[in-house]
């Protein structure tokens, strides 16, 4: 697997505040990554640093093995901002024409198809668009650019459920035909779970977890049973959060379970259920302290 982008000890401070602290990150070729974290965790800062919009206080970014200089952008990279700051007076088509000149693999046929899928009028001015429609314009650029490295910052912000589903469908379909590396930040975790192959979870500027989506769904459980049984079962396992009620107890765990564990759970009369990514995320972040 070749590495498209790697960050080492990446740090960004604003005055005394650390927006990012010693972040190590590696993006492999043709993988879809989810970038997760609560508000202010450093997601946008990270994307801005990669796309050359911000200068790192410390640390390095390498694109395909070559160190990026200050303000340099990785080759063949498309960054779709959350707040796109497109020129409001321009028409949608003019914006697309402008974007097309920056991206060598731009596909006009695909862009036109997306305009229809997302029900956008290319003659409309940017300032006339709703919040959701603005996100969609960015998404059309991100998808049509077919860039080897595409960064999406909250691409589904302001979109209704139907448009979100259309976006995910187009993304996956086009990714299947034209594999590339995609890093996508979002707060809608359960929607990204089936789409991302791996996730990076940031908290307060640091990396909290980097894991394959499959590994998370196979190891994140909520267990419920008698307090003694739960205590016996969770011994030696990584417990994210517990809550007691009377003689009963709930516990969120992050541990791969084997057949022996399952047998033990049955014998102890413990109910086991998988946690969704969203619940896992909140226990991971809140339960840790």
């Amino acid at each position: 697997m070749s590495i498209v982008l790697s960050c080492e000890k990446l740090t960004k401070t604003y005055g005394r505040t650390y927006a990012l602290r010693d972040l190590d990150l590696q993006l492999e070729e043709n993988v879809i990554y989810g970038l997760l974290g609560r508000n202010g965790a450093g997601k946008t800062t990270l994307l801005n640093l990669i796309a050359g919009g911000l200068f790192a206080t410390d640390g390095t970014i390498e694109a395909r093995g070559k160190k990026l200089g200050k303000g340099a952008i990785p080759e063949d990279c498309c960054y779709v901002r959350e707040n796109s700051k497109l020129f409001g007076g321009a028409r949608l088509m003019e914006i697309l024409q402008f974007a097309a000149t920056f991206h060598p693999h731009w596909d006009w046929a695909f862009a036109h198809k997306l305009l229809q899928t997302f029900r956008l009028d290319p003659d409309k001015k940017i300032k006339q668009l709703s919040r959701g429609a603005e996100s969609l314009v960015g998404n059309i650029i991100g998808l049509s650019s077919r860039s080897a490295l595409t960064l999406f910052d909250e691409p589904v912000l302001g979109l209704d459920v139907l448009m979100r589903e259309r976006f995910y469908k187009e993304l996956l379909e086009d990714y299947a035909n034209h594999p590339r590396t995609i890093l996508l930040s979002t707060h809608l975790l359960d929607e990204i779970a089936p789409i991302a192959e791996r996730v990076y979870i940031l908290d307060e500027g640091s990396l909290l977890l980097h894991e394959e989506m499959n590994q998370i769904s196979m190891a994140a459980y909520l267990i419920r049973g008698h307090s003694d049984a739960v205590a016996a079962f969770t011994e030696g396992k990584r417990v994210l959060h517990t809550e007691s009620y009377g003689h009963g107890k709930l516990a969120a765990i992050f541990e791969k379970l084997d057949d022996g564990d399952r047998l033990q759970a049955r014998q102890l009369d413990i109910a086991l259920e998988q946690l969704t990514l969203q619940k896992f995320f909140s226990y991971l972040i809140e339960g840790g302290r």
Partner: protein
């Protein structure tokens, strides 16, 4: 803390199942008080009206009873009642899905019984 409620069953039914599970595993004993609606609603993050409905189901079945002004209590024969109901469910749902899978795999009844005996020994 919230449990993932699946879509296969109505949520009030799942509330009743959670309380039943807790009676079976000894979290609640006979004539002991169960969580209040407010506590339950908070703990599992479900609408209180749904909790009331789930508890009502168990009251109708005689598994829980109400002490006026105090709250809900576990009936003395609750465990037996739940076991009886669940045996019924075990027979109707679990066994029939087991058999339909076994048919697909062309397993004979004797084979299935042998497997069950093996597992129960472990």
């Amino acid at each position: 803390m919230n449990v993932t409620f699946d879509e296969k069953q109505p949520i009030f039914q799942q509330v009743a199942d959670i309380i039943e599970d807790d009676i079976l595993n000894g979290t609640y004993r006979e004539d002991e008080q169960i969580l209040s609606v407010a506590q339950f609603s908070q703990l599992f993050q479900i609408n209180p009206a749904t909790v009331v409905k789930g508890i009502g189901l168990l009251v109708n079945e005689g598994i829980l009873y109400k002490k006026r002004g105090l709250g809900m209590y576990v009936s003395s024969d609750a465990k037996l009642k739940i076991q009886k109901q669940r045996r019924n469910r075990f027979y109707k749902e679990l066994l029939s899905s087991l058999i339909s899978e076994a048919d697909k795999l062309e397993l004979a009844t004797e084979d299935i019984i042998e497997m069950i005996k093996q597992l129960r020994k472990e």
